[in-house]
Symmetry: C2
Subunit: 237 residues, 2 copies
């Protein structure tokens, strides 16, 4: 398999970094190809704005910036920025994408959100009917691996924070299913900062074991278009 590892943590020696290192080692040992996007090491620029586009004069009066229109035009004219093109190339290459991050404020860190905002450009990652079952990345898989500050009971159905599924929904369905990816069961290292070295070692063992058998895992249910027929518009406007 060709595997892309995406890491979104500001400290490479963190437990998130250890998850990345363990993934790299385990996958290489199993004979897979590995490429990486360490967003902090790359100093990834996460803000989708006019100056991401060579032909959009930022701050020029009279030039109205429409993000999707700018993306479409950059794709059409072959003028996407080099950093975005490189990441799109990795996504096109990969069979499996592993995204590793700490849950901050019930979501991904800004640097990872901005990787999605900029890389998953209309005209490349979706658009023109290419989504969900017809998605660009159909046949590819994603594994979300994250750490939380809180214990798993906080993220239970009846927990204070609400279900972890809600927290991961924007990634699982809103981003990856949306673009055609199948998702594997997320790997969540609960309360990673509070379980001690022993707890973290146990997580790493579980993580390595997961990855050793990752090729034969059954994905989570996909969000099939046919299961969600568009109902009559309700309360529109």
């Amino acid at each position: 398999m060709k595997v892309l590892l995406v890491l979104a943590h500001p400290e490479p020696r963190s437990f998130n970094g250890a998850l990345r290192d363990a993934a790299r080692d385990t996958l290489l040992q199993a004979g897979h190809d590995v490429r990486e996007s360490d967003l902090h090491a790359m100093r990834w620029q996460p803000v989708l704005r006019a100056d991401c586009f060579a032909d959009q004069a930022s701050d020029a009066p009279g030039v109205f910036f429409n993000a999707q229109a700018a993306q479409r035009q950059a794709v059409a004219t072959g003028t996407q920025s080099a950093d975005v093109l490189a990441e799109q190339g990795k996504l096109a290459w990969a069979d499996l994408v592993i995204v590793i991050f700490p849950v901050w404020w019930f979501g991904v860190p800004a640097i990872l959100k901005g990787w999605i905002d900029r890389v998953f450009a209309v005209g490349v990652a979706y658009g023109g009917g290419r989504w969900f079952d017809n998605g660009v990345y159909r046949g590819k898989r994603v594994l979300i691996a994250c750490t939380t500050g809180a214990r798993n009971d906080r993220f239970a159905e009846d927990g204070l924070f609400g279900p972890i599924d809600w927290v991961l929904h924007p990634l699982r369905v809103g981003t990856f299913n949306f673009c055609g990816f199948d998702t594997l069961t997320p790997f969540v290292a609960w309360a990673a900062g509070h379980v001690g070295d022993e707890g973290r070692s146990r997580y790493l063992e579980q993580w390595r074991a997961r990855l050793a058998g990752i090729e034969s895992e059954t994905p989570q249910p996909f969000r099939h278009l046919a299961d969600f027929p568009s109902p009559a518009m309700r309360n529109h406007r």
Copy 2:
């Protein structure tokens, strides 16, 4: 009332910008005080990393960057960065915070996520038992206003995208309730790019009408700690 308007859109003449302008006009006309954070105009730096902290030598070997520890220390030593301090000052000042943004990938744009990641620092916005009912910002209110690309039926309970409540959960509960804010019913301009000028004018009318009566609105149910007693740990580690 003292009202803070936070805008996270790369084009000030966009419909999101129009929502901000309408809010400013309506609130000033009603005699409220208004301050603003136009994140793109401010060129907000959204990435929480070592060089956000004067005393953290970024990339220095041997210096382990722990984001929360760095925040705690910066608060304790009075060395938080000026941009973060200014935003924290606005939050402390405001009775009502209005957050305006386009829904991108089932969430907030990276620039807004990074405003939260950096401004809502431990030791200032939460920590030491100050959360939810005991939250720092108890007594203050938040109004989320957003635009979507899709129609509301996509975000229905049985819609392809899943409920809009899931999309807003990280903001409503994970950020604002978490820090003590009450939330008002979100204002969602569905399919703002597809409803034409007439549709957008109607949204703006509804928006102005909402804001004219905002002071007397009843908040959404708060996430009370007492309603979510911590259950026995389940499957921990």
